[in-house]
């Protein structure tokens, strides 16, 4: 029979088919055994017996063809499938060589052979086998399949013929589709010959004109139901062929499914795993990797164990094919599913989507923001009208920072800071932060409004920014809020502290002050640290100024100086806090009450006047330009302090110390209040700047909208 096989093979006759069948069977049996290595090269016959039981499968194994023949009574039918052999033969040209079994040239021939499908399938299996040929055992046949396919085919023919008959008998219903499917059976046991593939493609087109499209599950179901295969088997075929589990069949998947149906029709058992040759990627590799595909066939032989191995190798190839397929996303998902655990799969899938949109969205935002930011910064610059260099630097620096708002706020801060004394500016910037934040947020929102893409990204930036600024603003707020509370507490404490202050020495005064601060202003201190960095200058400045001012004054000034020095020496927090408190007091406009209580605690008269003038001073300063005002405030405060000082000397020397202490305290209060004022003014300025920037943004947006 073996000898006979080669002959028929060439004839494209059923013999070929049969041979193919047998070859297929044998190859199937052999290949799985040889290829998979897992399956011991069971006697092809055995395998074929299995398949024979299935009907055709056994036939396909070339090696087992002989055995098949023995086992499978299919012989006569070989004659019947004339057409299929033709088609098969055409497939023979398949690289697998003589495995013309897969001549899938025309659907017609397949139809006819459908009944003979088995033979055809067997023939097709032959090609597949030929591809698989490497398997050593029955290598003769296998090798035949590989090298001298013809011979193998020939050898198979007899067996295949027999099998075909059986197959034919088995294959009852034969529809055009079925035949086609058969014809489209795989070249190597599972390989798809070109003819078959073409047939499948044509069939695919009938359902889905777009070759790159999908065939929905329902349509595929109808299509394959025509093959009259049991639903269970169809379900299994679907499971095998729908690689990406998307409920739809791509061209490759469809071809694989069709091929499986044909094979099944021909009596081949369905593999547990999708043969490599049928893997979507394999479609491209079919012709080239006949051998490799055989591993897939291994599963066919019914060794689930092999399935995993074949699957794993197919995975990489799948990867390759994925890009080829149009199911990029699906492939990704499915691939991840297969390759990774379900968890990773879900994560993976979920990651896919967000990544792109986020990245896509993120991009436009920053770009957009910068211009406005720059604009804002420019505006700020204009407003500040000073330290252009500084604003630019912050601008340069900031752009790298968070979204515009942050930049804006920071720039504003910087600008403000630059414009104003560092201390004040810093504090002011902080105070202005909330405003800036709001503005920035609004700006961002406006931006987002302008750019839909930015909608997504903008929100996040504002948040961090807001939080960022908020943090700072919060700090400020906290400080300020605290200060008010603390003011009251501090005020409360202050007054008490004040009285003791004058009495105790400066050290004690500060101590008291400190304690007062500490007590009532614990939170304050908490905030103070934050503010400290912001307002160290404040303290320093105030201290300095006070110091300087005091220095200008007389001995009391000296004392004051010392006091201020002490103050300076004191924790900046204290001074700052005290100042803040004072400032807060001023802010709360409780200056009077604060000062009053403080003064009341000490010596109303001495204190009152100083605060009042200071207050007045501050108020006047407020009217002035914030920055200048701040400065002037400071000076004014200092002046007020100084003014208060002059009053001191009037007092009796005895009271001098007390007065001086009170003066000092007042000065501190004044400085604090002055700072507060400056901060408030800075805030005002910032708010104004923000407003301007917003207006500018509006204007910018308007033209955009017009555009």
């Amino acid at each position: 029979t073996v000898k006979d096989l080669p002959l028929p093979r060439f004839v494209v006759s059923k013999n070929e088919q049969e041979s193919r069948h047998t070859a297929l069977y044998s190859s199937d049996a052999d290949n799985p055994a040889s290829y998979s290595g897992v399956i011991p090269p069971p006697p092809p016959g055995r395998i074929q017996v299995k398949k024979g039981s299935v009907s055709h499968d056994a036939v396909q194994q070339r090696t087992s063809t002989d055995q098949q023949e023995s086992t499978s009574p299919v012989v006569s039918p070989q004659q019947s499938p004339p057409t299929s052999p033709h088609t098969w033969r055409k497939h023979n040209r398949h690289p697998s060589g003589g495995n013309n079994e897969r001549p899938l040239a025309g659907p017609g021939p397949f139809w006819a052979p459908f009944s003979e499908v088995q033979p055809g399938s067997s023939t097709s299996s032959d090609p597949i086998w030929s591809g698989h040929s490497p398997p050593p055992h029955q290598e003769n046949w296998v090798s035949f399949a590989d090298t001298p396919p013809t011979s193998a085919l020939l050898a198979m023919h007899p067996a295949s013929v027999q099998d075909q008959t059986t197959v034919r008998t088995v294959a009852s219903a034969t529809t055009a589709n079925e035949i086609r499917r058969q014809s489209s059976s795989y070249d190597d046991p599972w390989k798809i010959t070109d003819e078959q593939r073409q047939y499948y493609v044509n069939q695919f087109k009938t359902i889905q004109p777009d070759l790159n499209g999908f065939i929905p599950g329902s349509a595929a179901k109808e299509f394959f139901t025509k093959s009259k295969l049991p639903i269970l088997e169809l379900s299994h075929i679907w499971e095998l062929s729908d690689f990406d589990k998307d409920g739809a069949l791509t061209l490759d998947e469809f071809c694989a499914a069709f091929h499986l149906v044909v094979a099944r029709k021909n009596g081949y058992d369905l593999p547990e795993k999708l043969p490599e040759s049928l893997m979507p990627k394999l479609i491209d590799l079919e012709d080239s990797t006949e051998v490799g595909e055989q591993t897939g066939e291994v599963g066919y032989s019914g060794s689930p164990a092999e399935a995993p191995p074949s699957k794993s190798p197919s995975m990489p190839s799948l990867n390759q094919t994925w890009p080829e397929l149009n199911q990029s996303s699906e492939q990704w998902e499915t691939f991840s599913e297969r390759s990774s655990s379900s968890q990773t799969l879900t994560q993976f899938d979920s990651n896919i989507a967000p990544a792109d949109p986020d990245t896509a969205i993120v991009h436009p935002v920053p770009i957009r923001m910068t211009p406005s930011k720059i604009h804002m910064q420019e505006m700020e610059l204009k407003r500040t009208g000073s330290d252009h260099a500084n604003p630019t630097s912050p601008l340069l620096v900031k752009p790298s920072d968070l979204p515009e708002e942050n930049k804006m706020s920071s720039s504003v801060k910087f600008t403000a800071g630059n414009t104003v004394t560092d201390g004040y500016s810093s504090s002011d910037s902080y105070t202005s932060d909330p405003e800036q934040i709001g503005n920035a947020v609004t700006r961002q929102r406006s931006h987002s409004g302008t750019s839909p893409d930015n909608t997504a990204p903008p929100p996040p930036p504002p948040r961090p920014h807001a939080s960022h600024s908020r943090s700072s603003s919060l700090d400020m707020n906290r400080s300020f809020s605290v200060t008010p509370g603390q003011q009251q507490a501090g005020v409360v404490a202050y007054p008490p502290a004040v009285p003791p202050r004058p009495q105790p020495s400066q050290g004690t005064g500060p101590h008291v002050h400190r304690s007062v601060d500490a007590d009532g202003l614990i939170a304050h201190t908490s905030t103070s640290p934050q503010q400290i960095p912001e307002q160290p200058n404040f303290a320093d400045f105030s201290q300095f100024e006070a110091f300087a001012v005091s220095g200008v004054n007389k001995e009391e000034e000296d004392e004051i100086e010392t006091h201020s020095e002490v103050l300076q020496v004191e924790k900046p927090s204290d001074s700052a806090s005290s100042l803040r408190v004072a400032k807060a007091d001023g802010r709360v406009e409780d200056k009077a009450p604060a000062n009053v209580p403080s003064s009341a605690g000490k010596g109303t008269t001495p204190l009152a006047p100083p605060p009042k003038p200071i207050r007045r001073r501050l108020k006047s300063e407020d009217e002035l330009r914030p920055e200048a005002e701040e400065h002037t405030q400071k000076t004014g405060v200092i002046a007020a302090v100084l003014a208060s000082q002059p009053s001191i000397p009037r007092s009796v020397g005895k009271d001098k110390k007390a007065i001086q202490a009170s003066i000092r305290r007042n000065k501190e209060t004044n400085t604090v209040l002055a700072r507060l004022n400056s901060e408030l003014q800075q805030q005002l300025k910032d708010v104004l700047e923000e407003r301007i920037s917003l207006e500018v943004q509006l204007e910018q947006l308007r033209p955009f909208s017009h555009l």
Binding site: G217, H236, W238, D242, E272, S341
Partner: protein, 136 residues
């Protein structure tokens, strides 16, 4: 030791050890319990898997039953493991349920599969078997 029930009737049952009758009993009980749980959780909107740990069913045998709803009042994944298998951590259970869920969705993708049918998918069987081998 695994169960796969849909609306209180099993779509798929695979158990490694012991007999299936007990599993069936468990299924019924767990289903009932699940129903009870569902009733208790009616307020919430269960979208994702719902993992229900029923704890000991039989003090003697000390089974741990985990439930995972696929769809509300639809498919329930029930996993019964021996308490002796305490090595199983919750994460593992969850991962197993996730795998089950994924496999089930894969099955559902098959147009030839009608919801409510017994599950004959070989791939599913393989997966479940492998999973159970790990556990049991």
């Amino acid at each position: 030791c695994g169960l796969f029930c849909s609306q209180n009737y099993p779509l798929y049952i695979r158990s490694v050890p012991t007999e299936n009758e007990l599993k069936f009993h468990y299924t019924v009980h767990t289903s009932l319990d699940v129903v009870d749980e569902k009733i208790s959780a009616m307020g919430k909107a269960l979208v994702d898997q719902r993992e229900l740990y029923l704890g000991l069913l039989y003090p003697t045998e000390d089974y741990k039953v985990y439930l995972c709803y696929v769809t509300n009042s639809k498919v329930k994944f029930v996993m019964v493991v021996d308490s002796s298998n305490t090595a199983l951590r919750d994460n593992e259970i969850r991962s197993m349920f996730r795998k089950l869920h994924n496999s089930y969705t894969d099955i559902m993708c098959n147009p030839f599969y009608n919801p409510g049918d017994r599950i004959h998918s070989r791939a599913f069987d393989t997966m479940v078997n492998s999973m159970m081998m790990q556990v049991c």
